[in-house]
Symmetry: C2
Subunit: 217 residues, 2 copies
Amino acid sequence: MEQIETAPRPRPKQAGKREQTKQQNRQIILDAARTVFAENGYGATTVRDIIRATPLASGTFYNYFQSKEEVYQAMQDETALAIRPRLREAREKAGSVEEFISATFQTFFEFVLRDDVDVRAIRHNADITRMRVDTPEVIAGFDELREDIEKAIARGLFPPVDADYLMAAIVGVAFEVSERMVRRAAPDAAVAANFATALFLGGIRALPHEGVGSATA
Amino acid sequence: MEQIETAPRPRPKQAGKREQTKQQNRQIILDAARTVFAENGYGATTVRDIIRATPLASGTFYNYFQSKEEVYQAMQDETALAIRPRLREAREKAGSVEEFISATFQTFFEFVLRDDVDVRAIRHNADITRMRVDTPEVIAGFDELREDIEKAIARGLFPPVDADYLMAAIVGVAFEVSERMVRRAAPDAAVAANFATALFLGGIRALPHEGVGSATA
DNA sequence: CTAGGAAGTTGACGGCGCGTCACCGATCTG
DNA sequence: CAGATCGGTGACGCGCCGTCAACTTCCTAG
């Protein structure tokens, strides 16, 4: 597994030019797609639009992706891969239900506010108001959450509940509340996280009360 | 506003043939679309596929819908309009937080299991694993839920919480848990509703415990 | 009952996006 | 340096797109 120092000096690290160009082209296409999606909306965008925003030929595009859906998938996967380690890490440290839930939501909402800016722009689809795509990497993130819940149950941190439904509930609240959050005048990840956390810890009655000083815009 | 009995006998009720044909054609297209979407998946379907599944000409299609997206929207709207009155009615009767939440989830999950069968079939999109479309009528349903929550708060039924986020949380859990529910070997609306209700009433700790007799498959 | 007009249907058409593939230049290997 | 391989290129044929002039059907006023 260990590479012994027999490689030529000039470039002691990576592969040949072929490989370089490949990764470069892939990134060129992804970047172009991001721009075009943001400009035209996902629905109105054609593969040709993406190609045109690129110095490459049409045939080259199809060496990398089969369709605009696949490009979008790749973008989603990138996002999922970016946030998953943060979520895992946050949950790993948790010593209680409170910390587990709080860390999950806090991390998620913060990520949405910071990194998801351009991704959100894509959503202004032509006719379709909204769209959520669960790519393999996104689904893997869901599975990780369920695993973490199961582990937490095994450790006695959580009561022995239906881990699958609990995962679904957390995911549902995370996505749906974040959708609302970003539409607010002054989006605040902490407010959203507090709301979701209180809900999961104590139900509706435990939610922060409004109009009593801790109001939310 | 009242129509006086001056109309000719033969057909004392409705409008001319033009109007009849129009409604008929619209329905022909919607039915054809349902079939084609279910067979090919939404993504792979073209407007031409829908037209071909119809005795109509291509130009006629465009007299009724602009695109396959619009057809799908119309289908979603139909569904939303079917369930919304049931949800409203269920919530109207509620005399407590418990009833409000329980009735909402129970009604929703039952509807998904019973009426949503073919709609679910549509979702096996080509590349995209999943897709949710919020049409105007669907969004109106969300607004109704928020209104009902606000009314419940005004009545003192609910504590004064953030109605917008609470609505989002309920919607998120409803959609996400129902997605899981229908994938189970023996989908059970009552189990799902109990889970969601307990979560909203008392948080994670209030959820039904598993492996203690009341297990969930 | 009929004539003229309004409404709606038809299908052929030009335009374009689709995915492919034969060709060719660039890179790698011995 | 020569041969082999890899991957980029862009023109091509196909089918879908939305349109629109011609036509048929229905409505209505006289």
